[in-house]
Symmetry: C2
Subunit: 314 residues, 2 copies
Amino acid sequence: ADDAARTGAAERNAQLTKPPGALGRLEDLAGWYAAWVGDARPRITQPQVLVFAGNHGVAAQGVSAFPPEVTVQMVANFKAGGAAINQLSDLAGATLGVHALDLDTPTADFTQGPAMTEDEVCAAFALGWTAVDPQADLVVTGEMGIGNTTSAAAIAAALLGGDGWAGRGTGVDDAGLARKQAAITAGLAANPGRSGLAVLAGLGGRELAAMAGAIAGARAHRIPVILDGFICSAAALCLHAEDAAALDHCVAGHLSAEGAHARLLEALGKTPLLSLGLRLGEGSGAALAIQILKSALVCHSGMATFEEAGVAAG
Amino acid sequence: ADDAARTGAAERNAQLTKPPGALGRLEDLAGWYAAWVGDARPRITQPQVLVFAGNHGVAAQGVSAFPPEVTVQMVANFKAGGAAINQLSDLAGATLGVHALDLDTPTADFTQGPAMTEDEVCAAFALGWTAVDPQADLVVTGEMGIGNTTSAAAIAAALLGGDGWAGRGTGVDDAGLARKQAAITAGLAANPGRSGLAVLAGLGGRELAAMAGAIAGARAHRIPVILDGFICSAAALCLHAEDAAALDHCVAGHLSAEGAHARLLEALGKTPLLSLGLRLGEGSGAALAIQILKSALVCHSGMATFEEAGVAAG
């Protein structure tokens, strides 16, 4: 991050026509964003939403309320403009990129061994990295993939330890939840590596690897990122496990209704911007949060100073 | 509210391409809004932000970190486009109406007797009522008035009882906070009436009366309202004290950093949409929340159904 831009933004913030601190977290967001893009008075004009889709071998264990063919059906819905993320991206003035990763070839069932080979995880990571538009001034990473809350919960369990990472996902019943928990336990045993990248390959999925790649790629371009919910956070956790500073260019867009998301965000050291009970994925919560970040910057960069407005500074 | 529109919206919601309930509070908001506007598939295209400004006799008690002349200076800033609310209204696609109420004639000091006569409070209420554009499809009510957190805290204390309603406002120091608390105690003694409208006249201010009038006027037109922070909520409380259903067409836009706002919202039975530490007033938190409500409606009204998209419904 750029210290000169950070300092310049703080100086500007102190002169704006409001009591000190009265815009609360919006002020913090503006300073953080300014530092990452290296501009003390920036605006967001080209946000990019990236949705990655993948299929999961572990879905065969009956861990989801929906059948695996819904992944490809929802990709068609994204491309036709009918999903929530289409509406939210349009409203936020963002471009939407949809990337389906080898949907006809699900990952291997991680209860039996690694979900992906090294070549497969690297290819998915690289696809995510290169999906980032270098001209974008904000990136949102989202996903679609029947079975992927099981993958995300397994990643969290592997890297953070403890129980209770499995949740209801899209709405699985008690029996399904028990199968999900059993699959995670089996997956942890079948994939003993505990580095971030080993866990991503062993327990992740192509869309999770692509999100991790996009987050890392955005960092290379100094583009701030808004993280979405539980699955996106699990993908981000794999980077965080390799380097605790790897997510400094990211904010958490929202707290998902998926039960374990709060614990996962706490492990990442992130406080969510929104908490509206969403548990859809697709990047939907992060896309909502684009408007919060835009709001922070229109205030920071558009407001008059006390001197410009002839207002007494108290 | 319109039961047919509510039912129609619920039927539509159940068919949209997402797991049931996955959009969380956005789904509730869409159903509530649909019922109030009488349209099962509505969108927000004409939001109106109303900012009312008033001066307070109680400011002479030294209750604010800013001098009273800041009220008129900030009104000029609103009209010139330099304040936070200008930026936030523009970003949300809202029109902004700014109404300064007799700034040269502050209300009477409520520590000595009623802040406003019956004629004065009625005139301010009527101004707020008629400021609502009947063509608007959403109204936000905000305010500016040095001294008005003292007025709002006094209203809350009078109608809800208990202590601790006084907070730091724009940033008053410990001595100022003690003066603020003393002024509230004196105001409660000098204004013994405890009906909502008696409290509004006795302890309120012109901008608070105008906000109450705008909230009531919007109801007459069946226009949903987003409430702003502590001061707006205190104005709304005066209506709520007269009729517990008077705010059914309102949602709470945000939880302010002003300490007692959470208690006040609890008394109103409202859960805030956002909690970002704002304590600016001007309608700023509610204007941010316009985008959340718009997001709820673009999803509700723009998404494809399972049948339209050819997606399996689980």
